[in-house]
C-alpha cells in the first residue's frame, strides 16, 4: 500500500455518464487483489476528500478505473484532461477470497461491474456471469466479458432478460446449483437485499463488495462502517475489514 502519483493517459466516456480512466503510475503498486480499491485525490482543489474507486484493472504500472458520474467529484473527474495528475492511495481493503469451488457465480449491477472486473479476469471461464443494467446501451460496460457468455438483464427489456438481475439469476439458479458454488457480487444495496432473499433458502455462500462514504480509506477515521452480526463490535470498516464482506454477516 502506498500513495502513488499517477498521470491520466486516457479518460474516455464509454456509455453516457460512464468513463474508463487509464492512469500511468510513477511507480508500481502491490499487485491488487480483485475487489481492492484506491483512494483517488483529484486535481480539482475544490474537491476536498479523496474518492474511492475499485481497481478495475492493473497492468504494467497502469491502473484502470471505470466510474459513473454521480456528483461533484466524479463530474470534475470526467472533465479532467489527459496528463493531469492524480494521487492514488492503493491497493486498499480486503478483496474477494477465492476458494476452491465447483462453480463461481458473479452478479454485477450497473457500475458494480467495475468492482468485479478483475475478479472475472482471474476466474476466467470458471465464472458464470450475471449482469444487470438499465438499457442495452450499458452493455458496453461489459464488453470485455462478452466472450464469457454473460447472462444479461435490462430493466427496460431492450436486451436480454426483461427485469432485474436477481430475477434473472433466480431463473437459472436451479440448473447452476448442482453442487458447491459461491456467489460474488457488486452493485447497489437493494440488489444485495433481493439477492440475499434468493440465496437464503439454499444457504449459498456469498461475498459482496459494499460502498460507504469514506474520509480516509485506511481505517483511520471509522467513517465508513457497515453494521454486521458481530455482537462485540458490530460496525466494521468498509475500507479496512471490507469492502468485501460475507453477505450473511452484514445487516442490510
Amino acid at each position: 500500500m502506498d500513495d502513488i502519483e499517477g498521470r491520466i493517459i486516457q479518460n474516455k466516456e464509454i456509455v453516457s455518464g460512464h468513463y474508463l480512466l487509464k492512469v500511468k503510475l510513477a511507480k508500481p503498486m502491490n499487485t491488487p487483489i480483485p475487489g481492492q480499491f484506491a483512494m483517488m485525490k483529484l486535481p480539482d482543489s475544490e474537491v476536498f476528500l479523496r474518492r474511492p474507486f475499485s481497481i478495475y484493472d492493473y497492468r504494467q504500472d497502469t491502473a484502470y478505473f471505470m466510474y459513473k458520474v454521480v456528483g461533484k467529484g466524479t463530474h470534475s473527474l470526467s472533465r479532467t484532461g489527459k496528463n493531469s495528475t492524480v494521487s492514488l492511495l492503493c491497493p486498499l481493503g480486503k478483496g474477494f477470497n477465492i476458494q476452491k469451488r465447483d462453480a463461481y457465480v458473479v452478479v454485477a449491477g450497473g457500475i458494480g461491474i467495475a468492482g468485479v472486473h478483475l475478479l472475472i479476469k482471474r476466474l476466467g471461464k470458471q465464472a458464470i456471469i450475471f449482469f444487470g443494467c438499465n438499457r442495452a446501451e450499458e452493455l458496453a460496460l461489459m464488453r470485455y466479458h462478452i466472450n464469457l457468455n454473460p447472462y444479461v438483464s435490462t430493466l427496460d427489456g431492450s436486451y436480454g432478460f426483461h427485469g432485474n438481475v436477481v430475477q434473472l439469476l433466480s431463473k437459472h439458479l436451479k440448473t447452476i446449483c448442482k453442487s458447491n458454488i459461491e456467489v460474488f457480487t457488486c452493485g447497489p444495496e437493494n440488489m444485495f437485499v433481493s439477492l440475499r432473499r434468493l440465496l437464503e433458502k439454499m444457504r449459498i455462500p456469498c461475498q459482496a463488495s459494499f460502498e460507504e462514504r469514506m474520509a480516509c480509506g485506511l481505517g483511520l477515521c471509522f467513517g465508513c462502517v457497515k453494521k454486521t452480526l458481530d455482537e462485540k463490535e458490530p460496525y466494521k470498516r468498509v475500507c479496512k475489514e471490507g469492502p468485501v464482506f460475507d453477505l450473511w454477516q452484514v445487516c442490510l
Binding site: 485525490k41 476536498f48 480516509c216
Partner: protein, 300 residues
C-alpha cells in the same frame, strides 16, 4: 543542528507534531505507510470505560474545505486498547496521550482511574465535548461549573497529567479554561470540532449532524490558542485545520507547544511526516536553535 524536541509535563517528545484524536485509528493502521514512532506523541482514539458501537452511517460528509463527522465515539474500550494496541507503542517506545470520555461524571472518573501510569503515557486528554446525560445532554465542556467539578474529580484519581480538550461552542473560552485551570488541569487541547449540520436539497433532508473539522476551523482555533496562551500558563496543544507546516507554525507562534493534525491526514496520509520535515527545514533556514523557542512569539 536545530532541535525539534519539546518538553511536555517533564517528558521529552522528539517533535511537537501529533495526530488529533480519532484521526489515526488505533495507530497500527498507518504503519503500512509510515511508522508511528515518527510522531511526537500518538493521541489515542477517544476511549471509554466500556466499548461503544458508535453511530449509524453516514458518519462522514464532505464540506467546502472541511469535513463533518458523526462517528459517535466508536471504540473498543480502554481495556482492550491497552491489551491489544498499546504493545505496539511499547515496542516502538512511542509516547502516547490517552484521549478519553464519558457520558457521566462517574464514567470519566472510572475511565481515568483504570489507566495505569506508564512511562510512555504523557497525559490523559479529556474530551469535554461529550453530552452529560444526567444534565439533559448539555456538553460537559460548555459549563464552567461542570468543567471545574469533573476536572477536579478526575485529578483526584490519577497521577497522570490531565489535558482538557475544549469545545468551541462556548460563550467564553477563557471562562471555561479558567474553571479547568482552577481545578488543577495540566494543559489544554484547543479546539475540538464545531457542531454543524448538512441539508440535502435534493432529498429535502438532513443526512448528517456532526462536528466540523478541517481548514475552516483554523482561524477559530488559532484565536482560542492565542487567547488562552495570554491568560493561563499551562501547555497548549493546537488542533483545528492544520494542513501544512505553515499552519502548524501559526499555532505554535500563537502559543501552542505542540500541534495535532487530524483531517489533513485523510487528504494526504503523509501530512504528519511532511510537517515534521518541513518544520525542521524551517528551523535550519531560520537558524533557530529550538522549535520550543517559537511558542507564543506572535504575542510580541
Amino acid at each position: 543542528m536545530a532541535s525539534m524536541s519539546v518538553k511536555l509535563f517533564g517528558k521529552n517528545l522528539r517533535n511537537p507534531v501529533m495526530n488529533a484524536s480519532g484521526t489515526l485509528g488505533y495507530g497500527e493502521e498507518i504503519e503500512p505507510l509510515w511508522g508511528i514512532e515518527n510522531l511526537g506523541a500518538y493521541v489515542t482514539k477517544g476511549l471509554s470505560l466500556n466499548p461503544h458501537n458508535g453511530n449509524p452511517t453516514p458518519r462522514v460528509w464532505e464540506e467546502r474545505q472541511g469535513l463533518i463527522n458523526s462517528i459517535g465515539l466508536q471504540n473498543v474500550g480502554v481495556d482492550r486498547f491497552f491489551n491489544e494496541y498499546f504493545p505496539l507503542f511499547k515496542k516502538k517506545k512511542t509516547p502516547i496521550i490517552v484521549n478519553f470520555f464519558g457520558f457521566t461524571e462517574e464514567e470519566y472518573v472510572a475511565c481515568a482511574r483504570r489507566i495505569k501510569p506508564d512511562n510512555l503515557i504523557i497525559a490523559l486528554e479529556m474530551n469535554l465535548s461529550c453530552p452529560n446525560v444526567k444534565q439533559g445532554g448539555i456538553s460537559f465542556g460548555k459549563d464552567p461549573e461542570m468543567v471545574y467539578k469533573i476536572v477536579k474529580e478526575v485529578k483526584a484519581v490519577t497521577r497522570i497529567p490531565i489535558i482538557a480538550k475544549l469545545t468551541p461552542e462556548v460563550r467564553n473560552l477563557r471562562e471555561i479554561a479558567g474553571a479547568a485551570y482552577d481545578a488543577g488541569v495540566d494543559g489544554f487541547t484547543l479546539l475540538n470540532t464545531m457542531p454543524s449540520l448538512v441539508v440535502d436539497i435534493e432529498k429535502c433532508s438532513v443526512p448528517i449532524r456532526g462536528g466540523l473539522s478541517g481548514p475552516v476551523l483554523r482561524p477559530i482555533a488559532l484565536k482560542a490558542v492565542y487567547e488562552i496562551f495570554s491568560s493561563l500558563h499551562v501547555p497548549i496543544l493546537g488542533s483545528g485545520g492544520i494542513m501544512n507546516y505553515s499552519d502548524a507554525l501559526s499555532f505554535i507562534m500563537a502559543g501552542a507547544c505542540a500541534v495535532q493534525v487530524g483531517t489533513a491526514t485523510f487528504v494526504d496520509p503523509y501530512t504528519i511526516p511532511k510537517i515534521i520535515q518541513e518544520l525542521k527545514n524551517y528551523l535550519e533556514q531560520l537558524r533557530c536553535p529550538r522549535i520550543s523557542d517559537l511558542t507564543g512569539v506572535a504575542h510580541g
